[in-house]
């Protein structure tokens, strides 16, 4: 399959550049195989990690760093860090950063870090972003590399809520709770009753969600045609 082949090539390139193991199957990410943050070799850890020097939360288009994440010189000897929710989020964001086959991956990473920082700023004891949620979002992005860049916000439970908005108030929103538990909402115009809208909503797994909603025709307007 050409698309998969392209993804595999990108993954191989990423592995070659960054020296991390990276797989493309649909199985859960094995966090023990993921290298440390940041994976971008241009990053300067000595300055990137210190709390208090990162951009403020509204600068998502700039290179973002994460408040309060401690420098981790050798994660493989600090197994306890892998138990930390923050560390898992950090590693999943790192995965998106190196997943160059995901369109707008750098922009996605900056947005996620900005949201993480904002959530931590508001509630320091919160997970920032739910690990299960970002895991599910990452798998969704891996599987659907044709999507336009979505609006991304966090629910009150720190879960990712991604929305695509089209003309005539069309909406496709996905609430990523976990791989097994994604919820969608679709608004589309009712051509026979222009003042009304057709609403579809439901729950599915992250891997089959797009197949489930295909009948609604959303792929016609949420796909990036580049």
């Amino acid at each position: 399959m050409p698309e998969l082949a392209l993804q595999e090539k990108a993954a191989q390139d990423a592995t070659a550049i960054y020296g991390v193991k990276f797989t493309l199957d649909d199985s859960p990410v094995d966090l023990s195989n993921i290298s440390t943050w940041p994976l971008d070799p241009r990053a300067q850890p000595a300055t990137m990690y210190k709390a208090g020097i990162s951009p403020t939360v509204n600068q998502e288009y700039r290179e973002a760093t994460v408040n309060g994440w401690t420098e981790n010189e050798d994660p493989f000897t600090q197994a306890n860090l892998l138990d930390s929710e923050d560390n898992k989020v950090q590693q999943l964001i790192s995965q998106i950063r190196i997943s160059t086959f995901i369109p707008n991956n750098a922009r996605l990473v900056n947005r996620l870090i900005t949201l993480f920082n904002a959530a931590k700023e508001e509630y320091p004891d919160s997970p920032g972003i739910s690990v299960d949620s970002i895991h599910s979002f990452y798998h969704f992005l891996q599987k659907h590399t044709y999507l336009k860049y979505p609006i991304i916000t966090l629910t009150p439970d720190n879960e990712i809520y991604a929305s695509w908005k089209g003309v005539q108030n069309q909406v496709f929103s996905v609430h990523f709770v976990s791989n097994e538990n994604t919820h969608f909402v679709i608004f589309k115009p009712n051509e026979n009753n222009p003042e009304r809208k057709i609403i579809s909503y439901g729950t599915d797994t992250a891997d089959t969600l797009m197949k489930t909603v295909a009948f609604t025709g959303i792929c016609d307007w949420i796909s990036d045609e580049r």
């Binding site: 403020t56 939360v57 509204n58 949201l115 904002a118 959530a119 700023e121 508001e122 609006i151 991304i152 916000t153 966090l154 629910t155 009150p156 439970d157 720190n158 809520y161 929305s163 108030n169 909406v171 929103s173 609430h175 919820h183 909402v185 608004f187 009304r196 809208k197 609403i199 909503y201």
Partner: protein, 146 residues
């Protein structure tokens, strides 16, 4: 008085943290209830402030007063906003467009002495994503929360 319904012609302001904004605009996540967690109190309603209760002369004064109340009652995020909504529009939108024709109640729920205009949007359920989307479509204006 507590539990008085807020008239449909009146307005409410909802605090929206930065995580619930995109491009500075409130998104549906600003109108979702938190799920129940062990040890945490159940969120029964969406907290809002009743603007007309403040008896200010104009919207700008109302917003200034809400900012003062926010400042006195919790830590306001630097990028947070407040969304202004009309009570009748919210109720009508949800009643006519939600799949279960939900009738929301917007009730006065004063917190004395610091937040007497505090109110709530009731008859919401956890994970009411469709209704959160509908409410977000009724946002009239948004202002910086501080």
């Amino acid at each position: 008085m507590k539990d008085d319904p807020i008239p449909d012609q009146d307005h409410i302001a909802r605090y929206c943290s930065f995580q619930k904004l995109a491009g500075g605009l409130p998104q549906p996540t600003a109108f979702m209830l938190k799920r129940d967690r062990p040890g945490s109190p159940t969120e029964e309603s969406l907290s809002v402030n009743w603007l007309e209760y403040l008896e200010c002369t104009d919207r700008i004064s109302e917003i200034a007063e809400i900012r003062r109340i926010y400042h006195e009652t919790f830590d306001v995020g630097a990028q947070a906003k407040m969304a202004v909504l009309n009570v009748g529009e919210v109720r009508e939108k949800v009643r006519t467009e939600s799949p279960d024709r939900r009738i929301l109640q917007v009730l006065h729920d004063p917190i004395e002495p610091k937040d007497p205009s505090h109110s709530g949007i009731y008859n919401l359920r956890q994970n009411d994503r469709v209704i959160a989307e509908l409410i977000a479509e009724t946002v009239l204006e948004s202002y910086s929360a501080r």
